[in-house]
Amino acid sequence: MMGKHWTVVQVPAQAERLHALRSLVHEQATAYGFMPGCVDDLVLAVNEACMNVIQHGYRGAAGLLELGVSTSAEGIEFRIRDHAATVTLDDWRPRDLDDLRPGGLGVHFIRQIMDEVAYLPTPDGTGNLLSLKKHRPGRETAS
């Protein structure tokens, strides 16, 4: 996470750490100027991405999860780094919302809330680096 200024926290990939990660997202998105409803959505989307790492990446095994946040004139970017098995967006399987079953909503939330979702190359070629971007309010219609 070089170039832009990043605020980064690294935590064990455990469910009880999600609260702290959500607090960071809330704080940074609020400071950037997103409206409260949008802040809540961003908190949800980043939480879901971190949850995926814990549940489907490490599958309960010990591991580290790093969340970075960076802001610019264009918007806010979150990067989630893990050292689990490498995945691609093709591995994401959102469910049909008409198919009523308990799982599969997280990916739907992320795609619905974020403007850009991409896996970036990792520095050492292992694990994953997920980038989630939300454009500055008002920018969506300008671009």
Binding site: A15, E16, L18, H19, R22, G37, D40, D41, V43, L44, N47, E48, M51, I54, Q55, L97, L100, R101, P102, G103, L105, G106, H108, F109, Q112, I113
Partner: protein
């Protein structure tokens, strides 16, 4: 999150508050499914839920499905704005029976 169960008018009222996430949703799931497994019609009070993620929503969906299998009444009560926003994102606000209050359902 904290959760309590009380009985009212033949129903089990599961009251959840705080944050329902991957850490706490197993407890929410246990409370909801426990009431239904005992054969009780169940209302889940979400008035004091500050945050719910997909794992919490999954617990509600499981409850809804179990209630349907067992032909038991099931609904959500006083859904907080934060929880309602997430249910809308999942397009579940039209699936779950929603009531303003317990009294609204029990009369």
């Amino acid at each position: 999150m904290s959760g309590t169960v009380r009985q009212e008018g033949g129903y089990a009222i599961v009251c959840l508050d705080g944050e329902i996430d991957l850490h706490s949703s197993p407890e929410a799931r246990k409370l909801i499914l426990g009431c239904l497994q005992e054969g009780k019609p169940t209302l889940v009070d979400l008035a004091s839920v500050a945050y719910i993620d997909s794992s919490g929503v999954a617990s509600l969906v499981e409850g809804f499905q179990l209630a349907r299998q067992r032909r038991l009444d099931f609904g959500l009560v006083g859904v907080s704005p934060a929880a309602l926003n997430v249910l809308k994102l999942a397009r579940l606000d039209k699936v779950f029976p929603l009531y303003a209050s317990v009294r609204d359902r029990l009369g």
